[in-house]
């Protein structure tokens, strides 16, 4: 952590976005995490993504649980809504908030402990229901706040800082998200912002349950030889299946690659995902193939990254519930309490 506030002075040529904000305007308070924490890089990527998407800070809701990762919403978008919930309970609070006001952009930030241990059930159901959100897991494979025990996502056979070998199987949240019906699934690495920023941007623009698993080395407790979530290990075993460029709706489309190598996917909101293939046979529109590919590479110790699956036409929980266009929190008394005549009519219809 740091004792001084980040100076207000900024680069004189710092660009502004369509809303007149600089990237610095999307910052939060100074991080209190350990120096070098991967989570800080993810915060920085979120800041950059929100800046590039010209997002209105007052229309964003950041929700998190408990843990190092769940502290991070304090460190970005200080002018947005935030809710630091109970351990593992972020998904249900987010679901509730989303039901009440569907107009906000929901960003859930969680960690491997918060989502794969105590909150596994919550994670599963929020994804399964297709809540319109971007759910980011800052995955360091270790319980950092309690000084370095294995977490539920630690790989079997990996070593702790003290040299203990993990005998439990690791939970693969990406695999789970795919099985549970997430309509946008990606994996990235905190040390590769070129890949991470477009993934976050496209995830924020996606309608439906978007999930990104971000490997984020814990410099203090999980960055040693024998760890499978260290900077060195991830850099060595990172297999990116594609490179994503996210083109916001109504922006001119410019693609750098020859046709055939690049797939263009238009999302619900009009944003275009330009996917440059790196793995020749990988098709991010095929959920079954994605699961198989992940499994085979995981067995070889590779970490598959990139946009792994996307359903651009996906719907969300509000579609399924057929709610009205107006956010529920804006409905007035007359709309919410239609009166005894309306009740009688409903009852009559059920007889």
């Amino acid at each position: 952590m740091t004792y001084i506030l980040k100076p207000q002075l900024h680069h004189p040529n710092l660009p502004t976005n369509a809303r007149g904000f600089t990237r610095r305007d999307y910052e939060g308070s100074v991080s209190t995490l350990c120096a070098g924490c991967g989570h800080d890089s993810i915060s920085s990527a979120i800041i950059q993504a929100a800046f590039e998407l010209d997002l209105p800070p007052h229309q964003i809701a950041k929700l998190s649980g408990i843990g190092c990762s769940s502290k991070t919403p304090d460190y970005f978008m200080g002018a947005s809504h935030g809710f630091n919930t109970v351990h593992g309970r972020m998904p249900s609070v987010l679901t509730g908030a989303n039901l009440a006001n569907k107009d906000l952009i929901y960003l859930g930030v969680s960690g491997d402990g918060d989502s794969a241990s105590i909150g596994l059930g919550q994670f599963a159901h929020a994804v399964r229901r297709g809540v319109n959100m971007l759910y980011i897991v800052e995955n360091n494979g270790v319980y950092g706040l309690t000084k370095g025990q294995f977490s539920a996502t630690s790989d079997k056979g990996s070593k702790s800082k003290k040299g203990v070998v993990n005998h439990d199987s690791g939970i693969d949240l990406v695999g789970m998200a795919l099985q549970l019906g997430a309509t946008y699934v990606g994996r990235s690495f905190s040390g590769d912002k070129d890949q991470l920023i477009p993934l976050i941007k496209a995830g924020l623009a996606h309608k439906g349950a978007a999930f990104i698993d971000v490997i984020s080395p814990c410099v203090q407790f999980n960055n040693h030889v024998g760890s499978t979530k260290s900077f060195d290990y991830v850099r060595e075993h990172n297999e990116a299946v594609n490179r994503l460029d996210m083109i916001p709706a109504r922006s001119p489309i410019h693609v750098d690659y020859a046709p055939g190598e690049t797939v263009m996917v238009t999302q619900h909101d009009g944003s275009v995902l330009s996917l440059h293939k790196l793995a020749e046979l990988y098709d991010p529109s095929d959920r079954g193939q994605a699961l198989g590919f992940l499994g085979s590479r995981q067995a070889k110790g590779e970490i598959v990254t990139g946009l792994l699956y996307v359903d651009p036409e996906a719907g969300d929980l509000h579609d399924a519930l057929d709610t009205v266009a107006t956010p529920l929190n804006e409905l007035d008394g007359a709309a919410l309490v239609p009166g005894s005549k309306a009740l009688a009519a409903i009852n009559a219809g059920l007889r």
């Binding site: 001084i4 002075l9 680069h11 040529n13 120096a35 890089s41």
Partner: protein, 595 residues
């Protein structure tokens, strides 16, 4: 692009923009920190070591440091470096005990100095403690040169001059004041081991226009007039005064006129207002004293009524750009203008004059009749005659005179010790970590957001009544502290050890001014465009590391670095460290001799 060489002082010295810009390389951030700590005497002595006249310069310096100041690139205005120097001088304790003692024994070498201005006094200060037998000659009755004769008392009180000249003359030397050197040949014949010429640029440039001769009684040469005012020979001027010229002398002339009875005082200058040579703050001060500055007017003639000056006629000009893109000043087509006045002060430049140097004694002169002087050794074509200050390369300013003096003192010392004056040891430097704890530094790294403070001035009505009453009151201690806190501590360097870096990006993420980028190495021009914030200021260097684990390099653009140390605080491996850079200039003495 080549990995940055940090094993010589050159790279890090350039990062300290103020110190690099100062001709005498005063360690500015170091003394500003001492002022913030209230250690005024220490701050004063650091200044005194480098620039010899902190109290004088704290009021009159041309401040090459301030336009260079990094603070001016991240917000509107630089740190008020010059006036902070005055804070040190005003608030110090008695420092006489900290001054060098006169040499216990003489070394047998005799050195003569021609002129007792800032250049000669600097040489004398550097050499006297080494045991040289020094003789200072000056035509004026007191030592100080242009500091005393040309700078008006309302900008620089006599007490400050007496004190700082006194620190030098107390070192033990022979003063031959009121004695103008009329012949270099005769001086050399007196058998001095070395002669230093620091006689300034004593001749005000003449303006030979129609009417000059006839109206001569009311047309005065600026620097001569200022000198007469300083020495009390002149104490009044006409009600309407025109000052011709746009330099700092012109500003001193017009402001002095306002104090000697000039009610309607104008400065009329041939250039545009922006192009005037005067420092912006001096123009500001003149305007504040109700002195209009009229620009684009070229004087054509002095008008007079039977020898009694009545005014000056001007051609009105304008600037245009010709077909070759060159800027030219041409007649504007407007009719000539005539301004009435009682007196004219001509401040259109200064010239060197060496009527006292014989041309047959081995001294070579160049095509502009200036003696040939080596810009590094300050040596002339007569091996034991050295130059400095305005006498060397024409009119500059006090701080340049001091810098020349230091260089000449090194040469004289080496010359007198039988060494090659061209072999000059480079300055010594050191880099010392400022880490005090996990997140604690020896300097205040919390960047102040304050804007530049203005120096309070005496009430105008009072100030204009007395030519000897100092106008600027100087910062009080509290304001001095606040202004000192604006300094970014650029001498506390960001030092990067590439073998420790794990490329976690923490420094890149935290940097408030986007200085740091991890990027694939390429040539400098490309690199400058590929950084997180493009490095468009080509005067500022890029700090490039060796290759890192992923094959990338760390590139830091020094341009707007706040030296806040957050990169080092967020670095998990200590690859970044904040290290204080100290540059020890080589002054005359053991350090400058062959090692």
């Amino acid at each position: 692009m080549q990995r940055t060489s940090t094993w010589t002082p050159d790279y890090f010295h350039k990062v300290v923009d103020c110190q690099f810009a100062c001709p005498a390389h005063t360690p500015v951030p170091e003394y500003i920190r001492l002022i913030a700590e209230g250690r005024y005497s220490d701050a004063y002595m650091i200044n005194w070591q480098s620039n010899v006249f902190p109290g004088v310069l704290g009021r009159t310096c041309d401040r090459p440091c301030e336009p260079a100041c990094r603070r001016g690139r991240v917000e509107e205005e630089p740190v008020a470096i010059c006036r902070l120097k005055r804070v040190a001088a005003d608030n110090k304790d008695d420092v006489s005990a900290r001054m060098p003692a006169p040499a216990a024994s003489k070394n047998g070498k005799r050195v003569a100095m021609v002129g007792a201005g800032p250049a000669s006094l600097t040489v004398a200060r550097d050499l006297a403690p080494l045991g040289y037998d020094i003789t200072l000659f000056d035509g004026d009755a007191k030592a100080g040169g242009m500091i005393r004769s040309q700078i008006p008392r309302f900008r620089l009180p006599e007490g400050v001059i007496d004190e700082e000249v006194g620190y030098i003359t107390n070192l033990g030397m022979t003063l031959r004041l009121g004695e103008r050197v009329e012949s270099l040949k005769a001086l050399l014949a007196e058998g001095y081991d070395a002669v230093f010429v620091g006689s300034g640029a004593p001749r005000g440039r003449e303006l030979n226009l129609p009417g000059r001769e006839e109206a001569r009684a009311n047309i005065h040469i600026g620097i001569d007039w200022l000198s007469s005012v300083s020495f009390g020979h002149i104490d009044k001027i006409g009600r309407r005064v025109i000052v011709l010229g746009g330099g700092n002398t012109a500003m001193d002339c017009c402001r002095t006129s306002r104090r000697l009875g000039g009610e309607d005082v104008k400065v009329i200058v041939r250039s545009g207002f922006e192009e005037m040579k005067a420092s912006p703050w001096e123009k500001e001060d003149a305007i504040h004293e109700d002195i209009p500055i009229l620009n684009w007017r070229v004087p054509k003639a002095f008008t007079h009524d039977n020898g009694k000056l009545t005014g000056v006629t001007f051609e009105v000009v304008k600037a245009t750009v010709d077909e070759n893109g060159k800027r030219r000043v041409v007649n504007s087509g407007e009719p000539d203008e005539h301004y009435e006045c009682d007196d004219v002060l001509v401040a259109v430049g200064q010239e060197n004059a060496y009527p006292w140097m014989e041309r047959d004694i081995g001294m070579d002169f160049d095509e502009w009749a200036m003696p040939k002087v080596d810009p590094i050794t300050m040596q002339s074509t007569i091996a034991n005659v050295f130059f400095g200050g305005d006498a060397a390369f024409g009119p500059k300013n006090i701080i340049w005179a001091v810098a020349h003096g230091h260089d000449a003192a090194v040469s004289i010392h080496k010359f007198c010790q039988g060494e090659d004056v061209k072999v000059r040891p480079p300055p010594e430097f050191s880099l010392v970590s400022q880490k005090m704890g996990i997140h604690e530094w020896s300097y205040d790294n919390d960047i102040a957001n304050d804007r530049r403070y203005r120096v309070p001035q005496r009430d105008k009505a009072v100030a204009l009544k007395d030519v000897k009453m100092e106008v600027e009151l100087g910062f009080d201690r509290d304001t001095g502290y606040k202004e000192a806190e604006r300094c970014l501590n650029c001498d506390v360097q960001t030092v990067f050890a590439d073998n420790l870096c794990i490329e976690c990006d923490a420094c890149e993420d935290i940097c408030p001014v986007d200085c740091i980028t991890f990027v694939k190495e390429t040539d400098e021009a490309t690199l400058r465009t590929e950084l997180k914030a493009p490095a468009l200021n080509l005067d500022q260097d890029l700090y490039v590391s060796g290759a890192l684990g992923t094959g990338r390099v760390m590139v830091k653009d020094e341009d707007v670095c706040l030296h806040c140390g957050l990169c080092a605080e967020r670095c998990p491996t200590g690859a970044w460290d904040m290290q204080r850079f100290t540059l020890e200039m080589t002054h005359a003495g053991a350090a400058c001799q062959s090692r």
